[in-house]
């Protein structure tokens, strides 16, 4: 077998150009997903009422179906649905077919990540003892103050490793964004691979890039974790 190293070097440089897109999808998705995921976690914590049930069904459905299927479904539904809504229902002069397809990537991955994060937040909230809320109420804090100042800071620390996992998984899932014609790392390498049948080289490059990106993400989370969990680290000391 002949490995084309020159091609690999070129592909590496070219796929570097896709990194901003990959990171953009990951970051925007996280920003969109965190607030609704948090409120879903709170709703599910109550364990009763219609909100809790709806949230549970949503999480179960999203976690029970492959991401690729969610992408295919929404990408074949959303453009024409949005077009119909904008032009027919609201009579706006919008051409959704000219939109950057990255918008669909934001939507699809956010729907998915919201479900994942709501599970993460729920289990994190349940790790904070009930006594912490009682302690806060007994000194006169309101429920909202208790959440903001006592419960959430502790829940966040215990959630960080799982948030890191979710982020790594999200980053990996964005490799499927090429199905929505988004020009991320994988898409660029795929196109280049098809030129001269240099498949192995192209995908090996992508593989290395993902490992590097994942490493950076994990190091970042480690740093944040170390910073936030000062009160826990001292236990070991």
């Amino acid at each position: 077998m002949h490995i084309n190293t020159e091609f690999m070097a070129e592909t590496f440089l070219a796929s570097l150009g896709g990194i901003p897109v990959t990171l953009e999808i990951t970051l925007v998705t996280l920003l969109i997903s965190v607030p609704p995921a948090f409120f879903m976690a709170l709703a599910r914590q109550r364990r009763k009422g219609i909100g809790s049930r709806l949230a549970s069904a949503y999480v179960s459905f999203i976690r029970g179906t492959p991401v690729v299927l969610q992408i295919l479904f929404l990408y074949s539904l959303l453009p024409s649905l949005l077009n119909y809504l904008f032009t027919q229902v609201m009579s706006l002069q919008v051409n959704v077919f000219k939109w950057n397809t990255i918008l669909y990537a934001f939507i699809v991955f956010s729907l998915n990540t919201t479900a994942v994060l709501s599970e993460v937040f729920r289990s994190a909230l349940s790790t904070v003892e009930h006594g912490q809320m009682e302690g806060a109420l007994s000194v006169g804090l309101s429920r909202r103050q208790a959440y903001a100042r006592i419960i959430l800071p502790q829940a966040l620390v215990s959630a960080l490793p799982n948030i890191c996992n979710a982020t790594v998984n999200l980053l990996k899932s964005t490799s499927l964004a090429f199905m929505m014609t988004v020009q991320d790392i994988t898409a660029i390498a795929k196109v280049r691979a098809a030129y001269g049948y240099n498949y192995i080289e192209a995908y090996l490059v992508v593989l290395v890039v993902y490992i590097l990106l994942c490493t950076v993400v994990q190091l970042l989370f480690k740093a944040v974790e170390r910073y936030l969990s000062s009160y826990k680290k001292l236990i070991a000391a």
């Binding site: 003892e129 007994s138 006169g140």
Partner: protein, 251 residues
């Protein structure tokens, strides 16, 4: 100053409080005794609205309220004028000892930070922790944590402090330091309601002992009367058992 009447509370089919009355005057040290399951802790938690009683009324100085219909505003007002010391401390794990005490001052009562720090340090000094301001709960022993819990409760100058079995989660050798702090508070004229199994504390410090059994107040009176000549057979039986256990424990 504080009076609750006819307090009822059930958990499911299990009726824990079956119409309890309790009256507390300023400077009283009320010790509530009784076998486990008698509703002592539940009564205390209802007074601070950590549990919602189904029936009964409460008069706290000028505040008159029904337990069932108390508004959020009233609950908050009552909580701000009371302190609560928990069995398992419930210190904020993400805050230092000092921050645990200032939290209720700065956030709930809008005391300026500098003044809050000064008051919190004074409270921690009173419980003998002047060298532990910046320690996190996880770095303190059980006895020290409970003393921070007491400092947190007294720093807000509460009109009454509620103690829910403050020493029962502690190792035996750490009980003394917490009881000493409570005795000192009593000497300084604090109003306290204490649920405990510490008979010595009840005998030495209480101005009135309340004996509860199966969700009702069976009898109450000065510690001397209760301990020497209990009127109700249930009180007598309970005291016999406890005092015998204490005796056996000491050999």
């Amino acid at each position: 100053m504080l009076e609750v009447r006819n307090v009822h509370k059930s958990f499911g089919d299990n009726e824990i409080l079956k119409g309890v009355d309790l009256k507390v005057e300023k400077g009283d040290i009320i010790v509530i005794l009784g076998p486990s399951g008698s509703g002592k802790t539940t009564l205390l938690r209802c007074i601070n609205f950590l549990e919602r009683a189904e029936k009964g009324t409460m008069d706290f100085d000028d505040i008159h309220t029904e337990f069932k219909t108390a508004s959020r505003h009233q609950i908050n007002a009552i909580r701000k004028r009371t302190g609560f010391v928990f069995q398992n401390y419930n210190l904020f794990a993400n805050k230092t000892a000092l921050q645990n005490v200032t939290e209720g001052l700065t956030v709930a009562r809008k005391v300026p930070k500098q003044e809050a720090d000064a008051r919190a340090k004074e409270a921690l000094d009173r419980v003998g922790l002047s060298d532990r301001y910046d320690y996190y709960p996880s770095q303190l022993s059980g006895g020290q944590q409970q003393r921070v819990g007491i400092a947190r409760a007294i720093a807000v100058n509460p009109e009454v402090i509620l103690f829910d079995e403050p020493t029962s989660a502690l190792d035996p050798e750490l009980v003394g330091e917490v009881l000493n702090v409570m005795k000192a508070l009593a000497r300084d004229g604090a109003t306290m309601i204490v649920v405990t199994h510490e008979m010595g504390f009840a005998q030495d410090v209480a101005s009135r002992v309340v004996f509860m059994s199966e969700g009702t107040v069976v009898e109450q009176g000065a510690p001397k009367e209760i301990f020497r000549a209990p009127k109700d057979p249930r009180t007598a039986q309970f005291l016999r058992r406890i005092l015998r256990d204490d005796y056996e424990y000491s050999i």
